[in-house]
Homo-oligomer: 875 residues x 2
Amino acid sequence: MAKNYIYMFDKGRADMRELLGGKGANLAEMTRIGLPVPYGFTITTEACNQYYSEGETLPKGLDEQLEVAIKKLEKKSGKKFGDAKNPLLISVRSGARASMPGMMDTILNLGINDQVASTLAKLTGNEKFAYDSYRRFIQMYSDVVCGVDSKLFENALSRAKQKAKVDKDIELSAKDLKELVATFKEIYKKNMGVNFPTDAKVQLIEAIKAVFRSWNNERAKVYRRMNDIPSDWGTAVNVQMMVFGNMGETSGTGVAFTRNPATGEKALYGEYLMNAQGEDVVAGIRTPSPISHLREQNEKLYAQFVSICNKLENHYKDMQDMEFTIENGKLYMLQTRNGKRTAKAALRIAIDLVNEGLLTKKEALLKIEPKSLDSLLHPTFSEKALKQAKAVAKGLPASPGAACGKVVFDYAGAKALVDKGEKVVLVRNETSPEDILGMKISQGILTARGGMTSHAAVVARGMGACCVAGCNELVVDEEKGVAKLAGNTLKAGTVISFDGNTGNIYLGEIPTEEAKITGDFATIMSWAKEYTVLGVKANADTPQDAKRAVELGAEGIGLCRTEHMFFGEDRIQTMRQFILATTLSEREKALNKLRTMQESDFYNMLKKLEGLPFTVRYLDPPLHEFLPKEDKDINELAKLTGKKVSEIREVIASLKEFNPMMGYRGCRLAIVMPELARMQTRALIDAGCKAISRGIKCDIHIMVPLVGDVKELKFVKDIITSTADEIIAKAKVDLKYEVGTMIEIPRACMLADEIAKVADFYSFGTNDLTQMTYGFSRDDIGKFLPAYYEHGILEVDPFVRVDANGVGKLIKHTIDLTNAVKKNFSYGVCGEQGGDPKSVEFFCEAGLTYVSCSPYRVPIAILAAAQASINLGKV
Amino acid sequence: MAKNYIYMFDKGRADMRELLGGKGANLAEMTRIGLPVPYGFTITTEACNQYYSEGETLPKGLDEQLEVAIKKLEKKSGKKFGDAKNPLLISVRSGARASMPGMMDTILNLGINDQVASTLAKLTGNEKFAYDSYRRFIQMYSDVVCGVDSKLFENALSRAKQKAKVDKDIELSAKDLKELVATFKEIYKKNMGVNFPTDAKVQLIEAIKAVFRSWNNERAKVYRRMNDIPSDWGTAVNVQMMVFGNMGETSGTGVAFTRNPATGEKALYGEYLMNAQGEDVVAGIRTPSPISHLREQNEKLYAQFVSICNKLENHYKDMQDMEFTIENGKLYMLQTRNGKRTAKAALRIAIDLVNEGLLTKKEALLKIEPKSLDSLLHPTFSEKALKQAKAVAKGLPASPGAACGKVVFDYAGAKALVDKGEKVVLVRNETSPEDILGMKISQGILTARGGMTSHAAVVARGMGACCVAGCNELVVDEEKGVAKLAGNTLKAGTVISFDGNTGNIYLGEIPTEEAKITGDFATIMSWAKEYTVLGVKANADTPQDAKRAVELGAEGIGLCRTEHMFFGEDRIQTMRQFILATTLSEREKALNKLRTMQESDFYNMLKKLEGLPFTVRYLDPPLHEFLPKEDKDINELAKLTGKKVSEIREVIASLKEFNPMMGYRGCRLAIVMPELARMQTRALIDAGCKAISRGIKCDIHIMVPLVGDVKELKFVKDIITSTADEIIAKAKVDLKYEVGTMIEIPRACMLADEIAKVADFYSFGTNDLTQMTYGFSRDDIGKFLPAYYEHGILEVDPFVRVDANGVGKLIKHTIDLTNAVKKNFSYGVCGEQGGDPKSVEFFCEAGLTYVSCSPYRVPIAILAAAQASINLGKV
């Protein structure tokens, strides 16, 4: 017997979103709790996956199940699908497990044809409505199912309006619309070579297939990659009886949030349009009315809506984003979901919901997307500069942040400048799903049209990107690539600034300043630290970074890359002298200089840390990275060192490697040149002794990189301890230090129990470990990564998110082996994955002690760590 | 209580060699079975290891134990150690677990000083003997214990002989020797700043320490590395009552083998010198007499010796290499061990011992060193060429083989030429342990002095290197770097040839021909195949290689690197056209040409294999390896393809990678360019169909390289099966094929159970797996490998021998995971480790199905596989 691929709305529940998709599960849930939802059913995500695994054909048995389901709709409505006398029209909408707004496809008014349209006109006495619905259906079906360019229909619509001498679509008469339907059918026939399908059943089957196909369209793939949605989730399809917002002036459609998605303020927030259907509200073509106007128009209906909003928010315990339609004065709910919101709003809402008694702190922490905090850490406009600046125009503050950059009008323009390292802002009349790539690489988005819930606003908030929408003083000529902003001409390349918190738009650049953790943000951070078992440290190489890391909540430094101290203009030359040294005295002279510099850096960092852990990794990169490449620099170095250019070139050549990532680097440097480890130890321990003697607490952890065998670590550790212990004994201070190692070589993972006998702690170097485990050179994967994404072999860059299935197994193996020989051992991880929430979850599950990431990702990691601790039942 | 570090000879046994070293264990065993062995004791290898772990100081308790042991020697001998009236002299010799001839140190006549010498002269009535022993002791002690250059003493000895107007050492009178002793003591004092030590106890303690130190001298380290002896084994020290071969004409010393170590012939074989001590026989300074002369000199003693030889051979069931001393007509045994022998002799002896009923076939197989077979696979001089050539001189055929190359006189000279890719032969008056590096890189060794058991002969046989020793017509002036050979002048760079089987020496080059497996070699190979559970295949890329592989006993091809087919002069240009193609038609044209070439190669290989397994790896290396580097070649390619030089340079630049080993290669190529896999499949399956249709059996295994995820394999396998199945269906032939993968990425090891669901077989690519597991780029380790050896972090190149502890764990993990999901799965290994006996043992233990190595290592692998199977109890 075939699998059950269809669930009627009264058979589903909110917790079935894996099977029914988010939209389907919530339609069922709303049905279950008695809200007015047009009846319908959901075709499962399993059907979608089956569709793909069977080479893009609908699964067996679905056809029969569809007939049964349609019968049930017919019974409920008393109408018949495809019937000329009493026709049932339906909508077909995609609905994946995770919300992917605008990414996939919707078809409304399905089941219509010439006869049905004419019947509909008679039955409703509203010919205009009937043909408006018909023309809409032809356009959606042609676009979604057959890929006929929507512009052809838009242009025909414009010509029809010109001919009728009207401005708006709704001003077209029934006759105009009837003619338009005929034109639309001609466009279809011209493009497809056949007549527009009249059989409702055919329309339905093709629409379902089109929704399944839309799961793999380009923009859906990009969106999934950006939002970490696996491609094997698939989408569900929701089939629902139509209710019509385009039946005239007592009908309408709208969207609303139970709270303000930009600020989090507790107030109903939304927009609606009367005599409209589907995307009319969010497409930004007509400017909708704020939801509060509804109260004036229809107080009873407004009260009903408010009551539904409250019911939904209490039911879901979260801010809701809803779609509704009013058909002849009757309210229908078409969708509800947890609303996307800015980070600022997310913090506010989470705290409010706790204060309102709706959520516990733990539950509230889970409501905030850690990645979204990133937007709060972006620089904001300096208040001082803002006071002096004068806004030339104002739009809607659709998504907060401070954007400043060169104007671009499309993705190509944006990419060209971004590739050169420039910052850009995308300026459009309105955005459409095709703009998503351009939005992604821009500092902010500015649109002339559309409200707070327009495509631009919704997507920008999702991305944490700054957006000012619906600026009436902006007119963009996208063809010509020029815009007018309150009388000023903006060309591609003109620098402007705008403020997503106020909607103000400025010409030129406004200086920015660093974000601070205060208010709601600070509250949530303190809650997160309360509920986590996984610590968060920062990667910091300078006293400045160390200061910032502590300000942002890091509980110490998990990785100080000492080589970064050698890259400064004054230092690199000394490092080069060391590398070029041919006599002991030359070498020692250079080492002494380096030591003095490092000691002062270390001391200043210890001062900023005030006793927090300071984990110092010894020199790691291949030496050739320090040597000059350009002739000019080589000549300069020759002058400085008194060496011949040819000598320098020889050293450069001798350090050249085939695969430097796997070459002469890491602890291998200290094994060949023990004086390096001795110098670094002296610098660090001298700094520590000095700090202690001045009353500054120290917690020093020395980390040996790239160890693959216990003998390597033992050799280097012996150098470190003999050097350090002598200095400490001489200084007569009570300075403790630990010597541990990076775990970044697969061999070290397999021998972790042996290495643990010599190591005081471990820190996983996930960059190198991923490189070696996959055999992927991080710098070279660009050549095949696109093909890997294309064929679904990879869905996410394993350097960005820990590969739990492969690298993760090695990490767990390491911990298992080590736990068997040492108790209370500390396991860290350093590298950018430490700031990736999904990776943090894995690290928490694997039993790590802390993650370390760049200072700006610390707050994200702290929240992610709390969420992981809560989700895994560890707190 | 301190550990027991000392075993008297009557407390040990042959099977205690780990603790007592080979020499000590065998001295004890000989004592136990009643042979005449001077009494003594062994200080254990544990004492040596303790010495090193305590920072080079003798372990606690050893001192007291030494006193007790010396007391026992005193009691047995009735003499007193260090006593002026009735002195006991002793020898102190190193003795590691494995024999390391000449690598470590020996001190004879210890306990002597002015008083003792004079007493000794009185007691024996032989003043000459007493001062000969004394001068020998001073020289040995100064050299071994204090590092005073032996040459200083040799020169003094020469001057003494000049002064006395005699030629030989033994012609010096007692007075001459007495004066020489005084001179020697002065040399000591001048170099050491103190008088020569007179206290016997001090002499003993210092000698023991010196032996321990000698374990880590440079030549011992090199020897260990060459012979795979772990540095943590340590050496034992044997302390024994002296017996004197230098007491006059009824005394002497000698060495002997129970069978001929060069040919295996069953005949007592050895040399001795009367009135001589220690190294005199093997040092090649005086030419010794063959052992058969002893029968004429002293028939009774000869008979006793022959009987001892027989007893030892029967006892140890192997050919023995013995040292003996005759003191005043009485025979003493000083050492026995399994004799080093040539591969030819090893085969002969193994077969003879089976025929004599002393060994079973299994036991006999264990007696042959697999690596030694290598020497039998070297080319031999073509018989035809030998007939036409005329030998200019003849030496002793000390180690078989055919050597041809440019004359060099030392290591430096050898290395300079070898680095340029030239072949060299080392020509010396006599070799010393310092020459070992030079011998290692030479085609053969030719010496003017020394017999069949001289240093040169013994070491050459151990290495499997060709050696002609003791050529009387050769005089080498090593200082000037010139030699005379039967009237001909040999300068550095002169090409000569010599034959280790006959001892003939030729001027110029003699052509060589490939070795064949016949006679004893063939017998042993057939026994080995009888007793193995591990198969042996070959890596072969051409029909010629395939033919040779089968001749050498391979049971198929385990790795055909298809890219090697593209490197030929005619083919590489087509490959380049493919890489440079910018249009589909260009690309297809090039692919078609490549396909035709590959199909013909594949067909010819299948023909040679006649149904044996043929494992084909698809294109693996980074594409840039195929592109030209030189301007000339780039210009030529431009002409050929009609592309601009700048275009070609752009492609070359675009394919440049930071870490190509981890870059765009392996299955990544086929995923980005599926047409490549399709082309290779068509070529292979077309060839297979053609072969089948002509009655040639085929067993095709397709191998996808560099897989790290099951999705990669699935993607490529889908391409392969869809292409292959279509061709097979069209051809209507019964062609089977399997699709498997290389396991060479650590991630694949961790996910082997997932990958096994798609793979038909696995083959471990140990080169890449070692690279990734260690994070060692094979091409770049030269920068730190010497330091790793120096500090004992590595003892063997992990690319040569499988790293059982690290990489090996991943291999076992792979097999465990896979066995859990698939039964009767085939696991191979390809790469040079497949021909390394110790690696083969590991692979056998790990449960692999077969190893695959280069054709010339196939016999070695077959024998190693049999030994492993026997040792592990698998047969």
